[in-house]
Symmetry: C2
Subunit: 320 residues, 2 copies
């Protein structure tokens, strides 16, 4: 949503790139499997509280209308992408779905939750594997941004009410899922979708976790700052996500605990070299672009100490 | 589906073109309305017989799952596009939907049925307005192709069983619909979808109509030829389409009768100048590309005289 050039470039890269890849797979290696990274953000947050299924309606879902009833099983679920980036992922979904149908290609399309953490066993072994760590308003993901903000003394920023609920998964658990998908490839012609998350969290509560770990274990003095929401999104909404296939079919068990991963992040991000890299990017942290297209600072709504506020609103529901 | 270059070019043109247009509307003329041409082919043909709603689920549609029930009203309906061209139209749908949400643009997205005929009042007035008339396997639409085939003595080609059902609308009626949409523009932020058709027909029955008019009124000797289906599609399927908004909200009443329009087409296409233009394109009429990507002639299945065969299978259901 940054500007027209970025919106066009992301769709050109993602959509035309995936389409070209599909033709190449068909022509050169039709027996290979495409493991595609999509995002839970394809689905939006339906205000009815309808569960977010795994890409396609489950076999036992039915629709009723006009006093008649039909199965919805196997049909694509409604999409309501959160930005033009997320639109590009929806656009990919349909190219892949069709390529599997026309050409009997095979693909798992991963609707991934928000990634957090910087830990995998391999990354521990060699510091040269530490590549990018995004903390800006566009690419930065929320938990990683919170820890980076805490490390350089910026209050943790919540947008609007801060009651947005999202699905999350630690980097190492996401790697585990992908390995499990790779070693159990789809059948020819099979297009299947998995929701790849290990839990659901309300953003305001995540800010509390990060502040608690930072204050108690690292000795920081972290505040929380609510800002005007730059995005067009519900900031208080029901959220129920189905994520049954990875644990039940592919044997995925999450191994990373949220607070342990936050503590591990603090240790790494507080290393002087990393901290100074974050300092250099300090100016990219506060959001300056509204989803409506304005470039300006967001209004500050409320600043408070962690532990002084109770997050109410909806409780997330996680079907595994 | 012709080849990689065409698939990429159609998505580049349609998707990036529409995205650029949306940004320009936002920046320059945000109060204008976008009347967008999509296609009924975005929906596919659900084998459950579930109705094809108008882009978004109607307010009184509900989903039942896990012994619970939710409204689906307003959510995007499942999409199952019939080719990469149709995928590009689905991809447009989501860019437009989101632009209306973020920027309060306004749009009617028309899911148009298959166009037939070459008549409008304006086209009658000046022959210079006769521009392209597509009869090839890609751009040619079925009724127009049938009449063109009949005019140059090729049997009318049906793919597979020939029991595919599609929604149709005559060119002049489509123009009437668009004018009605233009004079009743959407509200700011409103994204709405209309299914723009005047009737549903089975392709095998359309071949009979064209043959009957051509044989009885024009004195031709038309045969029907079933071919191996080059496409990946059901050739016998239920089909129920909802198209209530145009007649009920916008006052659309179809004025063109199918057999009259076919007769009018015969008159025009038999004009020596037009007939010779069709003769020049004779080599483009028979399909030579399978949806799986092969380039070859299709197997001939059965050739028969019109009136000797009864088309059974599903009856179309048209909700107006």
């Amino acid at each position: 949503m940054a500007d027209m050039e970025h919106a066009i470039r992301v769709q050109e890269n993602n959509v035309l790139g995936t389409l070209k890849l599909l033709w190449i797979i068909k022509d050169v290696v039709p027996e290979s499997s495409l493991i595609k990274l999509g995002t839970l953000g394809e689905y939006g947050t339906p205000l009815t509280g309808r569960p977010l299924f795994e890409g396609l309606f489950p076999a036992d879902a039915t629709i009723e209308w006009d006093e008649r009833k039909w199965s919805l099983g196997g049909e694509t679920t409604p999409r309501d992408p959160a930005s033009f980036y997320h639109v590009s992922k929806v656009q990919d979904t349909f190219n892949i779905l069709e390529a599997c149908k026309y050409w009997w290609l095979r693909s798992y399309d991963i609707m991934q939750g928000v990634i957090f953490g910087v830990y995998t066993e391999e990354l521990e072994l060699d510091k040269r594997l530490r590549t990018r760590f995004d903390i800006d308003e566009w690419f930065g993901t929320v938990i990683n941004r919170f820890v980076a903000q805490a490390v350089i003394g910026i209050p943790l920023t919540l947008y609007g009410k801060g009651e947005q609920i999202r699905g999350f998964i630690a980097l190492d658990d996401a790697m585990q899922c992908m390995i499990r998908l790779i070693i159990s490839p789809p059948e020819p012609g099979q297009y299947d979708v998995v929701n790849q998350i290990s839990g659901l969290h309300k953003l305001g509560e995540l800010a509390e976790y990060v502040a608690k770990v930072g204050n108690e274990k690292v000795g920081l003095d972290i505040k929380i700052q609510r800002l005007e929401n730059p995005r067009v999104e519900a900031d208080s909404h029901p959220f129920e996500v189905v994520s049954k296939k990875l644990p039940r079919v592919f044997g995925f068990t999450p191994t990373i605990k949220l607070e342990e991963e936050i503590e591990r992040m603090f240790k790494i991000l507080l290393e002087p070299e990393i901290k100074s890299r974050i300092e250099m990017k300090r100016h990219t942290i506060m959001p300056v672009t509204t989803w409506q297209g304005e470039k300006r600072e967001m209004r500050k709504l409320e600043k408070y100490d962690p532990g002084t506020k109770e997050y109410k609103g909806y409780k997330p529901i996680f079907d595994t």
